[in-house]
């Protein structure tokens, strides 16, 4: 069981002349919250798309639960809960139809938990997805990402552009997921204060390369100046600069 949940090795990806990822190596062990931080366009989403198998590795390798997500999408995706900033849920579906559709794919779907989440998030089962606000859509996406208690929860900028209450729900969901023993969260965001609230481990990605990857406490210790414990924001600026 010591095998990492995510093992990325020497991953490189180019889009035309742009190098989105350059020899990225990253191991995410089981359990805990991994914060993936970086500026917009740094390569966070590209890395996450490789983890989900939506992009093929040009060179290097990606393994999730020891499997290649491109060669075995069913084996990998059935164990991952995923919520992205895009959140492209089908607008024509009602909330109850979305739940009914999604549960078919996951044998571990927990009806009681799904209903609990629906009530917590105040989602009307008869409401069409396209009529929901952006925050409500994010909640609906979170519901179907959590209701089968995935082994790995991948959140790609989930709270971007959302109000503080929805962001609180998302952070709550992360904490709830890790409360289930052995589960892992990969949380990408450029909102560093959010990552700082929940992450155990932070990986900083800058222009397609891993600039820094360490447990949050260790990062704070190494960047400490006297008695002043730096925030993640300050550590980020120290490494990347303000530009």
């Amino acid at each position: 069981m010591n095998e990492p949940v995510i093992a990325v090795s020497e991953l490189t990806r180019r889009f035309g002349a742009t190098t989105a990822l350059a020899s990225v190596t990253l191991d995410v062990p089981r359990g805990g919250v991994y914060g993936l931080v970086g500026a917009n366009g740094a390569g966070k989403t590209t890395l996450i798309k490789h983890i989900l198998g939506l992009l093929c590795a040009e060179s290097g390798s990606v393994r999730v639960f020891g499997r290649d997500p491109v060669a075995d999408p069913v084996g990998v995706l059935s164990r991952i809960g995923y919520l992205s900033e895009e959140n492209d849920l089908p607008g024509w579906m009602r909330v109850d139809e979305l739940v009914r559709y999604s549960r078919a794919f996951y044998p571990a779907w927990d009806d009681a938990y799904a209903e609990e989440l629906r009530r917590t998030f105040a989602l009307d089962p008869a409401a069409k997805i396209k009529t929901l606000s952006k925050g409500q859509k994010a909640r609906a996406g979170l519901l179907i990402a959590l209701a089968y208690r995935p082994e790995l929860l991948v959140l790609d900028e989930p709270s971007s552009g959302l109000d503080p209450i929805v962001r609180r729900d998302i952070l709550g969901a992360i904490l709830r997921t890790i409360a289930d023993e052995g589960r892992t969260v990969l949380f990408s965001s450029h909102l560093l204060d959010e990552v700082e609230q929940v992450a155990d481990h932070v990986t900083m990605i800058v222009r397609g390369t891993i600039a820094l990857s360490a447990p949050l406490n260790e990062l704070k210790e190494t960047h400490r100046r006297g008695d002043a414990v730096p925030s993640l924001d300050e550590i980020f600026v120290a490494h990347v600069g303000t530009g």
């Binding site: 989900l52 198998g53 939506l54 992009l55 093929c56 491109v70 060669a71 075995d72 999408p73 069913v74 990998v76 995706l77 059935s78 991952i80 995923y82 992205s84 895009e86 492209d88 849920l89 089908p90 024509w92 579906m93 109850d96 139809e97 739940v99 009914r100 559709y101 999604s102 549960r103 078919a104 794919f105 996951y106 009806d111 008869a126």
Partner: protein, 526 residues
């Protein structure tokens, strides 16, 4: 860019510059030919003229319809307006949103006509009108824009309404042409259409901008399904496909069919027209399927791409739902036609034809041929729905556009050549003798590509060996069954046995269907 008009024009130019360049190149060639020839000529046949001028220009006209109505990137069968929603948030009046694309489109149509009018070499016996075809093209585009930008209460209604309205409009123009209506009268008839269509288009964009989908009056029709679980992911996916695309074809057929069959009441005394009406009714499902096909092979969103299903299973759901759509559409046709024949009093005419067929062919052969024709129509409807999946599922816009261009280019050559062949007995006889060799080459290519695709499907783990073997055996069985039917029903004097085997092997689809999961996999894991 300093104005909304310039920005909208730039977008059309940027997205379609290659098509426009191809058109300019073609017009330059036409102009060069005219300069070299220098005078009106007598074409050998109308088909030669069609090959050089009519087919490419008609293709360009249709292309312009798609471009300026934003129809190339929208869902024709959807209820929502096809006007791009991203443009609704621009700080621009609705009048400008509707007006500029209409004005640019009308200008493009006018340029297309005048370029054809002045650059092409026309047959010397034709009187070529000056202005009204430009106005006709602009009017047809304006109405297409108004009708495609309008939100509708039902999926598929857009296609039916647009086809009916444009069909009626075309019919009026054809009647006017038949009666040799002078140009001023044609201009007077056509002149009000662009302004009226503009008012309709503006209203359509107002409604679309307000977020209306035309469904407000239909809430009562919705029915709740409770929380019953789908037993398998495949069933859930099939449900999604059905809700997204499955209902469009039966709905379109249900809307068009009664209107077509109503004509039986008007022409109950004219057997030839009854035959034409029934032919049109029987061709409605495959024809409508061609329209629906674009939506079936629509965009693969990240939501769909991250479903824990294999690409083959995702395609399987599409194929299955296409089959249900086909079956339901044909049930409607087969139920509606006898009812319409009986109510319109035209049943005896059709029964007379059936008796004649039985007398000439014998009962078993007549029934078999009728069933075979029906099976071919049903299969062709399903094939229309799914045969372009391998292009759409690739998710590459360049491939979609290239395939449209390639199809138009091939059609613009094949149709006139086929017409010439039909009229040239010597060439026809030679082609007939060569057919087995040509067919053998096509079958060789088909099987070679199929084997390559099967290898790729297996290598990528998309299908298991057992599935591949099963599919190959299934294809063999279908070919054999079709051959057996053909051999039994077609007189052997007309065709040799190997000829029928070749036809059966060419007719049963293989490559394009097998390529669909591969294309989706290519799209899903870029």
């Amino acid at each position: 860019m300093r104005s909304p008009a310039a920005a909208i024009a730039w977008e059309f130019h940027r997205r379609h510059r290659w098509g426009m360049l191809a058109l300019l190149a073609y017009l330059a060639v036409l102009a060069a030919i005219k300069v070299v020839v220098g005078h009106p000529v007598d074409f050998e046949s109308e088909q030669t003229f069609a090959l050089v001028v009519v087919v490419p220009m008609t293709a360009t006209f249709l292309y312009f319809l798609g471009v300026f109505s934003f129809g190339l990137s929208g869902d024709l069968a959807a209820r929502q307006s096809m006007y791009p929603a991203r443009m609704f948030t621009l700080p621009v009046t609705t009048a400008a949103l509707a007006g500029w694309p209409m004005l640019f489109g009308a200008a493009a149509m006018a340029v297309l006509w005048f370029a054809t009018r002045f650059l092409a070499i026309w047959p010397s016996d034709k009187v070529v009108p000056m202005f009204w075809p430009a106005l006709l093209a602009a009017s047809l585009l304006a109405w297409t824009q108004a009708l495609t930008w309008m939100p509708y209460p039902l999926p598929g209604l857009r296609v039916a309404v647009t086809m009916l309205w444009l069909g009626t409009f075309d019919a009026i123009v054809l009647i006017a042409l038949e009666k040799k209506t002078p140009e001023p009268v044609m201009l007077a008839f056509l002149a009000p259409h662009v302004p009226i269509a503009y008012v309709a288009a503006r209203w359509a964009v107002v409604r679309a901008r307000r977020g209306e989908t035309g469904t407000q009056g239909h809430r009562a029709a919705r029915w709740r399904r409770g929380t019953l679980a789908y037993p398998t992911p495949a069933r859930a996916q099939a449900w999604l496909e059905w809700r997204q695309h499955g209902r469009s074809l039966p709905l379109m057929v249900a809307i068009l069919l009664p209107l077509e069959l109503l004509l039986l009441f008007a022409f109950s005394e004219a057997p030839s027209i009854i035959f034409e009406i029934l032919t049109v009714a029987l061709l409605t499902p495959p024809a409508m399927a061609a329209f629906v096909a674009a939506t079936v092979s629509g965009r693969v969103t990240p939501f769909l791409a991250t479903r824990p299903m294999t690409s083959a299973s995702l395609i399987g759901a599409k194929l299955k739902v296409a089959m249900w759509s086909t079956v339901i559409a044909w049930i409607l046709v087969l139920a509606a036609i006898p009812i319409a024949l009986r109510l319109s009093g035209t049943m005896p005419v059709v029964a007379g034809w059936a008796h004649d067929a039985v007398r000439i062919l014998g009962l078993p052969r007549a029934v078999t041929l009728a069933l075979l024709a029906l099976a071919l129509l049903v299969a062709s409807t399903w094939k229309q729905l799914v045969q372009s999946l391998y292009i759409g599922m690739s998710g590459r816009e360049w491939l979609v556009k290239a395939s449209v261009f390639a199809t138009l280019a091939i059609l613009s050559v094949v149709l006139p050549v086929a017409h010439w062949l039909v009229q040239n007995r010597k060439a026809m006889a030679m082609l007939w003798n060569l057919f087995p060799w040509i067919a053998a080459v096509f079958i060789g290519v088909k099987l070679a590509v199929a084997v390559w695709i099967a290898g790729k499907l297996y290598d990528r783990g998309l299908v298991r060996r057992r599935t591949l073997i099963g599919a190959a055996l299934g294809w063999d069985a279908l070919v054999l069954a079709l051959y057996a039917l053909l051999a039994w029903s077609v007189p052997t004097l007309l065709f040799r046995a190997y000829f029928l085997v070749l036809v059966a092997m060419l007719a049963v689809p293989l490559v394009r269907l097998a390529a669909a999961p591969l294309a989706l996999d290519w799209n899903r894991h870029r």
